[in-house]
């Protein structure tokens, strides 16, 4: 009988503590000595700020990519048009009545010397001999 009574007091104490906590919670009181909720809130804010900054960065990248895509299209169009014009002009040069006239040796030497000098300064530029006709 005595044991039952002591259990009654324990259960009553637990119920009373629960009611007190519920009442305190209802009044806006929080038991958070380590500020865990505040830390969670701060972490969530940081994640949100990072996500927003990333969104702005990726959106700016997409806008930049669109500008570059337009520029690439312009370059391709230019290459096509210039290639067409050049191929036509080269064909006319090949068909000219004096097309097969050899260049004078001293002129060839001057041109070769100058090209050699240019290639010495910028080796990566030189297509090499026999590559003069891009139209084939």
């Amino acid at each position: 009988m005595r044991g039952l009574r002591s259990w009654f007091w324990v259960a009553g104490g637990v119920v009373a503590a629960g009611l007190a906590l519920a009442a305190a919670n209802g009044l806006g009181l929080r038991w958070d000595p380590f500020d865990l909720q505040g830390r969670r809130l701060e972490a969530a804010r940081s994640r949100a700020a990072l996500a927003e900054a990333d969104y702005h960065a990726r959106r700016a990248e997409r806008d930049g990519d669109r500008i570059v895509s337009r520029e690439i299209e312009t370059v391709r169009q230019t290459e096509i048009e210039v290639g067409r014009v050049t191929a036509t002009a080269i064909q006319q040069a090949r068909d000219a009545h004096d097309a097969d006239l050899p260049l004078a040796p001293d002129r060839v030497r001057r041109l070769d010397d100058h090209d050699r000098e240019l290639c010495r300064h910028a080796p990566a530029l030189c297509a090499g001999p026999g590559k003069a006709d891009p139209a084939g």
Binding site: L50, A57, G64, T74, T78, R94, A96, V108, L118, A127
Partner: protein
């Protein structure tokens, strides 16, 4: 692992067209008048292509800088 505190920076990919080297067309052996004329025209064509590649590289750089500025501006505007 800690999550990053800053987003990946704004980067634009340099188009392959902008990375192509310029070329200098030269005369082959025993050139004729047509070879000279052809090389002259081919050099002009190569110059235009080279300039287009240069402009594309500059445009990409400028677009990247503008995108970085835009991202930074958007970031600043959201701050209280």
């Amino acid at each position: 692992m800690r999550p990053p505190s800053v987003p990946d920076p704004v980067r634009l990919t340099l188009p392959v067209e902008a990375t192509r080297p310029c070329r200098l067309v030269t005369l082959g052996p025993s050139p004729t008048l047509a070879d000279l004329e052809t090389a002259y025209m081919a050099r002009g064509e190569a110059l235009v292509a080279c300039d287009a590649a240069r402009r594309l590289a500059v445009a990409t750089l400028m677009a990247e800088r503008a995108a970085q500025a835009m991202a930074a501006r958007s970031d600043r505007q959201k701050l209280p």
